[in-house]
């Protein structure tokens, strides 16, 4: 089994390096093929491992070699494939494979084709490290690795100012969170003496809750960054500057869910600190709602999907925070499928529209790209949580959990959000694929994507439809390592109503989106567009502006100030001042050496007299 593990882990790296060699060369389809097949190999290996575990096999745990050994700290490169990580691996490699293949088509005209595949495979490798590591620091490697790849890929079109800006923003935001994560790791090390999951978790029970709380908080800060939770969420929308497959892979299916994965991974810890869990859940619920509101009004197809990702991550955190780890993981997996699908579909649309993102300029495109439309609708239905699509199962479970744990407010929020989700996802669908063919006004000539790209998307579509039915198997499988979530007795009585209510609001949302008149005229009327709430949402709650005003600009100004005023004018000037002072003293007093003999003699007499006076004073005082 170790062989499979290593294959799963290193095949993407090999692909990345292979593509990297040709990084600066002109497009070479071979790089795409090689990387894709290596990712596929990785997928196959992951599948083997999954099957192995599913059939009750032993957890695969290897220690490849030592990494950091200093003092009492000892961190190896250790990898573990257990039920959780194998699920993640499967999801990651599956989506990656799809995205790789898809990208061969999507990026076919790009100069940086080889480079792209190199980055993309590197990302997969990092993600694999993240999910497979058997210790927190190994996770951190992957954590930062995906951050790096995300930076590279967001800024892939580096000649675009906005892209590089977004890349840097993403990296820096993530770094802020990473600091929290690092602090969490420090805390773990100094309290448990190790960073290995098993050693740490075996000790958590005996540890002081306060410490655990702190650890939980700091680790979650890390998760907040990667999963773009409020207030570190702004980067995710901006990250849409990257190529769309990247958005599908990184900013929807895999990387952003790393935070959720972390919470799931550290479930032993979080189980002991329900307060933090509750906080996580609350924040998740808030983000779910918050992001959904922003998605309501946005006109950028990718940003809408990005906000929906954000929103869905909020759902996952609700589940994770409330202790329903397996449900979080379940939603993570289903979400990965349909969200990747959604993005890839959006990619098709963009491709067709020469990278135009504004949904206002689209419309009626189902005629030219029917398949894409179908795929997108499937994905949207899954997202909206409509039976029998995958999203229904997982999302509903989360609402159930919220309700069951008597957090009715959370439930309420999520419930409303479910409606919003349905609305905005179909708003997009409607605006893009139905209605007036506005694109013609702008002189676009859309066309359907390559066949193989559509084929590549098909597994995701299938999964987006059927994944929900494997809920039970999934539950059995992952609870091998994850705790069960025990629903109370009462919930069984109301579960039906809950489903009904939820589906109801989702359908209402869809209904409003589909049947209202709004989108016909350009979605929202002008009156509405001038409404405060609309502008508030359209400006993303003014948060980017606030960040810009409160952090970014002052930072630049303060930096300049520190340099020009403090460093040059104070610190350095002090040093130079000492030298200048000495020099000026010299210049001022060199007149003592006037060259006049009489003055010289007078100095002697003056010195003599001064000494006499001192002598008198001394004698007087010493008597």
């Amino acid at each position: 089994m170790e062989l499979f593990l290593y294959t799963a882990l290193f095949a993407p790296l090999a692909g990345s390096l292979f593509a990297g060699i040709f990084g600066a060369s002109p497009k070479n389809i071979i790089t795409g093929l090689v990387t894709s097949s290596l990712i596929f190999l990785s997928f196959v290996s992951s599948l083997f491992l999954f099957v192995h575990l599913y059939n009750g096999g032993e957890i695969v745990h290897v220690e490849m070699m030592d990494w950091i050994m200093a003092g009492d700290l000892s961190v190896p490169f250790g990898f573990v494939v257990d039920n959780v990580s194998s699920t993640m691996m499967l999801v990651v490699t599956l989506v990656s494979t799809v995205v790789h293949i898809y990208s061969m088509g999507y990026m076919e005209h790009d100069k940086g084709f080889n480079r792209f595949f190199s980055y993309l495979s590197a990302f997969v490798f990092s993600m694999m490290v993240l999910v497979m590591s058997d210790n927190f620091l190994g996770l951190f490697i992957g954590w930062e690795g995906v951050g790096l790849c995300s930076w590279l890929l967001i800024g892939f079109w580096y000649h675009k100012e906005s892209a590089t800006w977004a890349a840097n923003e993403a990296f820096i935001m993530n770094r802020i969170a990473d600091l929290g994560m690092l602090i969490g790791i420090f805390l773990i090390y100094w309290n448990f003496g190790s960073l290995q999951y098993d050693e740490v978790f075996s000790q958590v029970a005996e540890t002081d809750t306060t410490i655990l709380t702190w650890i939980g908080i700091f680790l979650f800060i890390g998760a907040m960054g990667k999963s773009a939770q409020f207030p570190l969420h702004t980067w995710l929308a901006d990250a849409m500057e990257g190529p769309t497959p990247v958005s599908a892979l990184i900013h929807a299916a895999t990387m952003v869910t790393a935070g959720v994965y972390l919470v799931i991974r550290a479930n032993e810890l979080y189980s002991l600190i329900p307060e933090v869990g509750y906080f996580i859940a609350s924040l998740g619920a808030f983000v779910a709602f918050f992001a959904a509101t922003m998605a309501l009004v946005n006109r950028d197809i990718k940003r809408v999907i990005a906000y929906s990702t954000l929103s869905q991550l909020g759902y996952m955190f609700v589940a994770g925070g409330l202790g329903a780890y397996w449900i979080a993981l379940f939603h993570l997996a289903t979400h990965a499928f349909f969200k990747a699908l959604l993005f890839l579909g959006a990619g098709n649309v963009m491709h067709a529209m020469d990278d135009e993102l504004n949904i206002m300029k689209m419309g009626g495109m189902r005629k030219v790209m029917g398949w894409t439309a179908i795929l997108m609708i499937v994905a949207s239905l899954a997202l909206a949580g409509i039976y029998p699509f995958a999203g229904f199962f997982s999302k509903d479970k989360i609402l159930e959990v919220a309700f069951d744990s008597n957090h009715y407010i959370l439930w309420g929020v999520l419930w409303v959000t479910a409606g919003l989700t349905a609305f905005y996802s179909f708003r997009v669908v409607m605006l893009v694929f139905f209605g007036k063919e506005r694109y013609k006004d702008f002189g676009f000539h859309p066309h359907e994507a390559h066949k193989f790209m559509l084929w590549a998307m098909s597994p995701l579509a299938v999964l987006a439809i059927i994944a929900g039915f494997f809920e039970h198997q999934f539950y059995n499988f992952v609870t091998g390592v994850l705790p069960h979530y025990n629903f109370s007795e009462e919930i069984h009585h109301v579960v039906g109503q809950l489903i009904l209510v939820t589906t109801g609001i989702a359908l209402t949302g869809i209904g409003i989106a589909v049947f209202s008149n709004m989108y016909r005229e350009g979605v929202f009327s002008t009156v509405l567009q001038n409404n405060f709430i609309y502008r508030f949402l359209d400006n993303q709650w003014y948060i980017p502006k606030i960040y810009d005003e409160v952090f970014a600009k002052p930072y630049i100004e303060l930096s300049t100030l520190l340099w020009n005023r403090v460093d040059v004018k104070i610190v350095d000037a002090t040093v130079d001042g000492i030298a200048k002072f000495l020099h000026t003293t010299g210049e001022k007093t060199r007149g003592m050496q006037s060259g006049n003999l009489s003055h010289m003699l007078r100095w002697v007499v003056a010195g003599f007299t001064l000494l006499l006076v001192l002598a008198v004073v001394y004698t007087y005082y010493s008597i």
């Binding site: 007499v605 007299t609 006499l612 006076v613 008198v616």
Partner: protein, 177 residues
Amino acid sequence: MEVIAFYTFAIAIIASFLIVVTSKNVLYSMSALASGMVLISGLFFLLNAEFLGVVQIIVYTGAVIALYAFAMIFFDSAKDVKESRRSRAIFLLSTFSSILLVLLMTIPMSSDAVSALYPMHQDVGNAQDVGMVLFTKYLIPFEVAAVMLLVAMVGGIVMAGKKMDRYLGNDKEEISK
């Protein structure tokens, strides 16, 4: 008697030396110096240092003043010299330090604890006494003083010599080959 002599001499010496340092005329100044020197030798006689008194007269009036006189002739400085800059600060400085030092020196410094290392002999003349010490204890300083005088002589000759007339100024190179 001694008191009278002392004060007479003292006042005369002070007066002549004051003339030396204040007079604008070199001639007056030098004459006053000479008279002061002679008067000092008077004090020496008063203090039973006949030998020194004689030496004082011979060396100062005989040699030093003569040298100065020649020099004065050479410098053609019989005319008044311009002494400028009698600044207040200098006056205060010198007055203050003088008063201070003089006041300090009024403190008796002698002590009975001190015994003479080379006592005078009452029955022999001062010159003999001096000679005795000079040529035993102070023979070496005496000889060194001789060397010193030689140096002074050599120096004086060299400096006044013809070779020094070759004027090099500051900017010219030394005698070239």
